[in-house]
């Protein structure tokens, strides 16, 4: 089964792929992406570089998450200069909180 962390990683990578064709999900188990080190990059690095594209990313991510996690994901502070991996860590914590 996927852990909360695996699920957070898949959700964030998928939302990036919806917001930017610069990002591809190559395999889902194990998760592999293009760019290969997606979570070490910032949103601005992958074309999610203004408020419109960040809003598309956020709405995509919220759509992919379980209902109880949505409010937390909706209020994440996001800028184009945030490292994407930080969002994975936070979404993991939000899912874990619901499933604790």
């Amino acid at each position: 089964m996927l852990s909360t962390f695996d699920r957070a990683a898949l959700a964030v990578a998928s939302a990036c792929a919806i917001a930017s064709s610069f990002v591809k999900v190559v395999t889902v188990d194990p998760l592999a992406t293009l760019p290969e080190k997606l979570f070490l990059l910032t949103f601005g690095n992958v074309g999610i570089d203004d408020d419109a594209h960040l809003a598309t990313f956020r709405t995509s991510l919220v759509s992919l998450l379980p209902d109880k996690v949505k409010p937390g994901a909706q209020r994440m502070p996001l800028t184009r200069d945030v490292m994407i991996g930080l969002v994975v860590n936070h979404v993991d914590a939000l899912i874990a909180q619901v499933e604790a």
């Binding site: 889902v28 998760l31 570089d49 945030v82 604790a100």
Partner: protein, 484 residues
């Protein structure tokens, strides 16, 4: 450039210096060690249906599976010193059922810098009452640069239902503390306005400040109406008649985003992410591929109100209006080019309305003091290019907005430069920024060249603006966006 440059003025724009945060934090928001080849932080999650440990290394690893053989990993809880038996640690491919345990694996998109250790859900992996920490020792780790380190050890917190909120708060804090472009950028800017006036200093000021808030912080009803909002202001001001848009606006904006994607494909991915699903199948990947087909992937609807004022001689009240503003925008997906070393995207604003009323008009008794109604449409293009393996970078942004004024509004008389005239009809605004950043480092800052062009009319006084600015900007070379 052929322009009569009588004066070159220096405009020092001191913005934000990145504040140093004394205690290092990892991406997960936890305390770290300074060892360049070791464990940065780790934590153990004990949830209702799964237990796992996340280990964050200080550097990218080679992702060598032999390093994470359960026989190479030693785990114990503290203070009880209870050890987890090695046969309770899962391998990389545990049985694929909803009841099975998560796998032990490096996380590729993190550059294998993160390791998940999956644990079997039984009494052997349950912390004793009073245990608060977990200690890990891994016999050896191959790092990506060829360094072999070992044993690597680390100590981290145990999170369960009682304290999981702490992890939520830590990771949110790490997100909020990541440095923004404004913090990194433009330590000092030097601008040359062309043409420059015969006397006095010249230069343009473009300041935009926004504070966002989110419907997730509010009641459920609010979430249906909007996703996010912002309060802030925009100031566009020049020191010379033909380069002075005299534009200030401050207000509130609420935003709702509608995704233009196949709902069934979205639901397929959502099911893979939802709890209780076994590992995702090829259908998930197919759904993702399907979602990536559309060029336009979101419709954004903004609603808000703002105050707009004529910025002149430290006043805003020569002409001021209160305006309700509603705009629909369609955002394209970002497309890569040149072997994915660059990308471009655009957004269309097919329709927008500005409705409002004049508040003040102090420079003439014959001013328009009634209602105002404007139609607007526009587009924005962004382009970003950075050659592979290079720190040289080019960024281009262009924005065009066309307004049609249904009612007469107050405007600047070009002869007197006072807001004593009126205008109506078509009003265009265009602005473009081109920035080049170079690899050269000067006092830990990366110099760049910025070229800006503005032309047209902005409310509330529609002062004709035509300016071309060349500037040098210094971007902080501190590229840390990891929340440290």
């Amino acid at each position: 450039m052929g322009c009569d440059m009588k004066h070159i003025s220096l405009t020092l724009v001191v913005l934000f210096l990145a504040a140093s945060v004394p205690a290092q934090q990892s991406g997960s928001g936890e305390a770290t060690q300074a060892n360049p080849y070791g464990i940065s932080s780790l934590h153990f999650k004990s949830l209702a249906r799964e237990r796992h440990i996340l280990v964050y290394f200080t550097a990218q690893t080679a992702g060598d599976r032999s390093d994470i053989n359960p026989a190479e990993i030693s785990i114990r809880f503290l203070p009880s010193k209870k050890r987890i038996p090695q046969n309770s640690i899962t391998g990389p491919n545990p049985p694929d059922t909803t009841a099975s345990s998560p796998a032990t694996h490096f996380v590729g998109p993190f550059g294998n810098q993160v390791l998940q250790i999956g644990l079997i859900q039984d009494d052997s992996t349950r912390p004793e009452p009073g245990d608060t920490q977990v200690e890990i020792a891994i016999q050896r780790i191959h790092f990506a640069d060829g360094k072999l380190a070992g044993p690597v050890t680390g100590l981290g917190a145990i999170y369960d239902k009682a304290n999981i909120q702490e992890l939520v708060d830590l990771t949110r804090k790490a997100l909020a503390s990541a440095k923004t472009k404004e913090e990194k950028n433009q330590f000092v800017g030097l601008g040359i306005a062309i043409p420059s006036p015969a006397s006095s200093t010249s230069g343009n000021t473009d300041i935009s400040f926004n504070r966002d808030f989110y419907s997730g912080d509010l009641a459920e009803t609010a979430r249906r109406v909007f996703d996010s909002g912002s309060v802030g202001f925009v100031l566009k001001k020049g020191n010379e008649e033909k380069s002075d848009p005299r534009h200030f606006e401050a207000g509130l904006k609420l935003r709702k985003v509608f995704l233009l994607v196949d709902r069934r494909a979205l639901e397929t991915i959502r099911r893979s992410i939802a709890s209780g699903e076994p590992s995702p199948t090829a259908a998930t990947l197919d759904a993702l591929t399907h979602l990536q087909r559309n060029f336009l992937r979101g419709i954004i609807w903004d609603n808000g109100s703002h105050f707009e004022g004529d910025v002149k001689e430290f006043k805003l009240t020569n002409v001021s209006n209160l305006v309700y503003d509603t705009v629909v925008q369609a955002a394209s997906v970002s497309r890569g080019f040149s072997g994915q070393t660059g990308f471009w995207n655009f957004r269309l604003m097919p329709v927008g309305l500005e409705l409002g009323h004049n508040l003040t008009a102090e420079q003439t008794a014959n001013a328009e003091r009634g209602s105002l109604a404007r139609f607007k449409t526009g587009a924005q293009v962004n382009l970003h290019y950075q050659a592979k393996g290079s720190v040289h970078r080019v960024e281009f942004e262009a924005l065009s907005v066309h307004r049609y004024l249904f009612e007469k509004e107050n405007a600047v008389d070009p002869k007197t430069n006072k807001a004593v005239a009126t205008t109506a009809g078509n009003k265009n605004w265009f602005e473009a920024d081109l920035r080049f950043f170079f690899g050269l480092l000067i006092l830990k800052n990366r110099p760049g060249l910025k070229v800006s062009y503005q032309r047209g009319y902005l409310p509330p006084t529609y002062s004709f603006t035509k300016s071309f600015n060349v500037g040098i900007v210094f971007e902080s070379a501190d590229d840390d966006t990891s929340g440290r």
